[in-house]
């Protein structure tokens, strides 16, 4: 193995020098140093928000990330509602929270599949994404879209849910819960999986705090922070749920936390449906928002999402600041990969649950006195799977077993 490996973003022309996203230094197969370069997805959203009305911004901000779109739009409208002194009707908050938890479910199932894919456990991808379609269909039924639900407006939500839809939600949750119980069984009993994920991407409790890890990444190192409990918003203060933590401090812990959170989400969804109060779902918001400022914190599937909004009395915000959770967690990646192997790179990065496009990467291989070569993410993923297979980790049997068990 050459002694220096550069990990740039996107496909690279061999002769063209381009900015790298991850720069690794290897000694043999071991990573001794790593630095992270970001920004390729920078679209200038915060600036655009200042030139558009608050209502237009709800739709723009929803598209910061297509996996946690409701997280971003809710964080934004909450801040605006606070500045304007609007009190969202209880039913509107219930619906907002319901969509929030459904989003968490789709996101965590997506993650389970992606994690499986990264380590060679592809059957898990196929089954979890098939289960995920149950949630996608439900979200489409309730909101009109599979993604980017457009459910929020300033002052509440845009659509009510019908009595007849409630049973459908409960049925879906029952089905998903039994499937998730099976994934928990697999996660906690299958030795191949446990061995593959344990001791990988380790962050101690103290380091997780020092590095500012949020969401499941932090909670897997026993950092028991969850905005739904610490800084309740929407209806969370009224719901009965646990904050799931693990003291494994590794990728295995992050897996346990996410499947545990799925079970808590199902509990919450049932409470929301059964206890949903009657009444309107929104209050009318003024077009011009009075001068003021607010900070909104939301527990997105990947961790704490923070929005700051400053209003100046016009129909356009003075300033919108967004800190998405991945930005907090990506700081940990260098630490997680120090003294580990290149073979660990795909699953360690996947385990912080970054934006999907973060994984469209190419790796350029440089060595003393030789032409630079390029490996793509797919090649590193295969390298990782082969590397671990050579050391006794093989998912062929588990792939077969899962296919037999879930007809």
């Amino acid at each position: 193995m050459p002694d220096k490996v550069r990990v740039p973003i996107g496909p690279q022309h061999p002769a063209l020098k381009e900015p790298e996203s991850f720069l690794l230094t290897l000694v043999g197969e071991q990573i001794t140093e790593m630095s992270v370069r970001l920004g390729y997805n920078h679209r200038g959203i915060e600036k655009a928000c200042e030139g558009r009305t608050y209502v237009q911004d709800v739709y723009l901000i929803e598209r910061v990330c297509g996996i946690c779109s409701h997280s971003h739009s809710t964080a934004f409208v909450q801040a605006v509602e606070e500045i304007a002194g609007l009190e969202v009707p209880k039913r509107g908050l219930y619906i907002r929270t319901l969509v929030a938890e459904l989003e968490r479910v789709h996101s965590h199932l997506l993650w389970l599949g992606v994690a499986g894919h990264e380590i060679g456990f592809d059957t898990l991808l196929m089954y979890t994404w098939r289960d995920r379609e149950v949630v996608m269909d439900l979200l489409a039924l309730l909101t009109g879209n599979r993604v980017n639900y457009g459910m929020n407006t300033i002052g509440g939500v845009r659509r009510d849910i019908a009595e007849g839809q409630k049973q459908g939600i409960l049925n879906a949750v029952d089905a998903l819960e039994s499937r998730t119980k099976y994934y928990i069984e697999v996660a906690s009993q299958e030795v191949t999986l446990i061995n593959r994920l344990s001791g990988v991407g380790v962050v101690s409790h103290e380091d997780a705090i020092r590095l500012g890890a949020v969401g499941p990444t932090g909670r897997a190192s026993n950092v028991a922070r969850d905005a739904r409990k610490d800084d309740p918003y929407a209806v969370y203060a009224d719901l009965d749920f646990k904050v799931i933590t693990s003291d494994h401090n590794d990728v295995y812990g992050r897996t346990l936390v996410r499947v545990g959170e799925l079970m808590e989400s199902y509990k919450m969804i049932r409470q929301l449906v059964r206890n949903m109060p009657e009444g309107p779902v929104a209050v009318k918001a003024p077009r011009k928002i009075p001068a003021g400022e607010a900070v909104s914190r939301y527990e997105a599937p990947r961790g704490e999402d923070v929005h700051y909004v400053r209003a100046n009395g016009t129909d356009k915000p003075e300033r919108v600041k967004i800190r998405a959770p991945t930005l907090a967690n990506v700081q940990c990646v260098a630490h997680m990969l120090k003294d580990r192997y290149l073979a660990d790179l795909p699953i360690v990065i996947a385990a912080i649950d970054p934006c999907f496009s973060c994984t469209d990467r190419l790796i350029a291989v440089h060595g003393a006195g030789r032409e630079p070569q390029t490996m793509d993410w797919e090649a590193v993923r295969r390298y990782g799977i082969e590397w671990y297979r050579a050391r006794g980790t093989d998912f062929t049997d588990l792939n077969k077993k899962l296919r037999v068990k879930i007809a």
Binding site: S35, E82, L211, G212, D230, Y308, R319, R323
Partner: protein
């Protein structure tokens, strides 16, 4: 006494000059403003003595003649302390808070790239979030900047 009231009492006793702009907007939301020269000691006190051990993010603002920076601090209990300071555009220098919060470097690089702050003590590293070929002297989040300036490659803020 509520937690917010206790915080206010302690902080204002320690730093009486904070009283005028101290505001408890609602439970778990405290806002305060401090002049640049007293910012380091207030920040240190909040983090070291008052347990605001979480830095959520740093928001940069264009305030006209000045640039503002709000440090969004938080405690385990969920209370946030949003401390704002400001610097003149003619000398927009802030101290880095990475000694307290190592991951703050990307928030500080945003201040540099998007608003034109200079952050002292920030370790060398790649810029964030703008691309390498971004024209120097153009700070997109400043109020007097618009995307048309990109094509002209002007440096209005040089």
């Amino acid at each position: 006494m509520t937690e917010e009231a206790a915080i206010e009492k302690q902080v204002v006793t320690q730093f009486p000059f904070l009283l005028a702009k101290f505001r408890v907007a609602r439970p778990r939301r405290i806002f305060a403003e401090v002049a640049r020269d007293r910012f380091p000691e207030v920040f240190d006190y909040l983090v070291k003595k008052m347990n605001f051990t979480i830095l959520c993010t740093i928001t940069g603002l264009d305030l006209g003649d000045e640039l503002g920076a709000i440090y969004h601090l938080a405690r385990e209990s969920g209370v946030t302390f949003n401390l704002r300071t400001a610097v003149p555009k003619t000398q927009p220098v802030l101290p880095s808070v990475t000694p307290y919060f190592p991951p703050a470097d990307c928030y500080e690089r945003e201040l540099v790239d998007l608003l034109g702050f200079k952050v002292e003590g920030l370790a060398p590293g790649s810029r964030y979030p703008l691309p390498d070929d971004w024209p120097a002297g153009q700070y997109p989040l400043r109020k007097d900047w618009n995307p048309e300036m990109l094509d002209k490659k002007e440096a209005p803020h040089a």
